[in-house]
Amino acid sequence: MDYIRNIGILTKKELKDNFFSPVVYILAALFCLSMGWLFFNYLYASKEITDQTLTQSVLMPIFGNMNFIFLFLSPILTMRAFTEEKKLHTLELLLTSRLDHFQIIMGKLISNFLMAAFMISLTLIFPIILGMSGYDHWNIVFLSYLGILLSVFCYLSVGLFASAMSDNFVVAALLGFSILLGIMLFSLTGNATENILLAQMVKYLAIPYHFENFVRGGMRSYNFVYILSFIGFFIYLTHIKLDSRRW
């Protein structure tokens, strides 16, 4: 219990820091603006498309776009997580405290995740609007939100690792984005081979492959295994990076 409480102490402090910073509000405003505009367009276009359900014509593209936007936003959200600590020399304060590396990483990861969740929560207005026009596939809505939250958690773990790797927050953001883009490209690489087994293996490594299963309402246990392994892998890399300060 004390272990969880320690994570909570850092999460609370980080959340306070982040919500006092204008960056999160600027990002949230830009995110709302772009998502609102996309939602309006998809909704408007859905009138013309009569052979598709609202899930296919509005919900799936909206969540696909949201996932893509967070590819850029996540490294920006996490870029200062460790670079700022290094700049202020406060990382030593955390590293010499009774918090272990995992607690420090989780404290930062959870606080960034809650910020991203706050931004995503602003889009809850979309299913409400759809509900008013008779839409009732709430299980798809729930799974789509679950999918985007898990997907963003993966992105944030990469962003956090990038932040631990660099001393400069711009470099951290670019590094995080580059890693994520590289992982995304696995989807395209899978299309380049005629070997079905190899194609499936390569596609499996890309986050959108798993995210799509959530949005389609057909997620499998291996989707969860992939997401947990992905997050665990990048937490481990961040842990090694923090530990290397003592080498």
Binding site: I9, D17, F20, H89, L93, T96, S97, R98
Partner: protein, 309 residues
């Protein structure tokens, strides 16, 4: 003698560099120990090793008798460190910051140290509700010291706490350090040598990763004072007196330091361990015009220069 900090043959190597080369250091409990050395001598590395920030390549580190390399968790509650750059979150209030430091270092049931008491002890009462980023450098250093105290550590490491402070702030920091001495052992690194001479019980001089001198200030001074120097002010100091003094086999040199009207300040270098003051005083008095006579002690600054050159 109880030791607060004990280092035995500590070596720290980086690829191609030996930062610490067999460092032995003893800091007595309840003392203020000055840790001196030029930039890059190994002071901060030694302090970081004691505080558990970095591990040594080899050697033994004991804090209050506990093996600091093996029991890192116990070490955290025994040592508080103010690094050269205080680890401060600029967008936090002073009180919130200290409470945060306490929470991440102590279990809830162990948090006996009252943050408000430490705020008062460090003279932060009037800025407790202000953002750290808006404070003066002197106050920021004080917040850094409070951070080192807030989890009840017995031993405090202060790495250049007076760096960049104005004379008033230096004086306030000195008073604070002396106040802390009542309850804590302090290992203090600074380039303000006159401050060290005023407040430290013992000093250690390090250069190029090796300990050069250690002991009380008097011990170190007397070690360097094996060649005695006397100074006097004389009204009738002449070439004859100088010749007479130089003719003595125990005098290695006579320098005139200062001439003010008819008064001359003169320094005599003695190359003998025997006390020749009576003889010299008797001769100079006989000549008439001797106003003052004293044995010159080496200043810490001179000792420092001699040791590290």
């Amino acid at each position: 003698m109880t030791l607060a900090i004990e280092l035995k043959n500590v070596v720290k190597e980086y690829p191609g560099i030996v930062a610490l080369d067999g460092v032995d250091l003893e800091v007595k409990k309840g003392s203020i120990h000055g840790f001196l050395g030029p930039n890059g001598a190994g002071k901060s590395t030694t302090m970081s090793i004691i505080a558990g920030l970095i591990p040594p390549t080899s050697g033994e580190v004991r804090v209050s008798g506990i093996d600091a390399l093996k029991d890192q968790k116990a070490l955290r509650s025994m040592i508080g460190i103010l690094p050269e750059t205080p680890p401060l979150y600029m967008n936090m209030l002073v009180r919130d910051y200290l409470q945060f430091c306490q929470k991440i270092n102590l279990k809830r049931e162990d948090a006996s140290e009252n943050v408000d008491e430490i705020i008062e002890k460090c003279g932060l009462g009037e800025v407790a509700g202000r953002l750290i980023g808006n404070l003066s450098k002197g106050y920021k250093q004080r917040v850094g010291v409070a951070q080192a105290l807030v989890y009840g550590a017995d031993t405090i490491i202060l790495d250049e706490p007076t760096i960049g402070l104005d004379p008033n702030a230096i004086s306030e920091m000195r008073s604070l350090i002396l106040e802390l001495k009542k309850e804590h052992t302090i290992l203090l690194s600074t380039h303000q040598l006159h401050e060290v001479a005023r407040i430290c019980d013992e000093i250690t001089i390090i250069n190029k990763g090796k300990i050069l001198k250690t002991g009380t200030l008097v011990e170190v001074q007397s070690e360097f004072s094996s060649v005695k120097t006397y100074e006097f002010i004389h009204q009738n100091f002449s070439e004859d007196i100088k010749k007479y003094l130089i003719s003595k086999d125990y005098v290695s040199g006579v320098d005139t330091l200062n001439i003010q009207e008819d008064q001359k300040t003169v320094r005599i270098h003695i190359n003998s361990n025997l006390d020749h003051r009576a003889e010299l005083l008797s001769y100079l008095s006989r000549e008439g015009g001797l106003l003052e006579f004293w044995e010159r002690k080496l200043e810490l600054e001179e000792i420092f220069k001699q040791v590290v050159k």
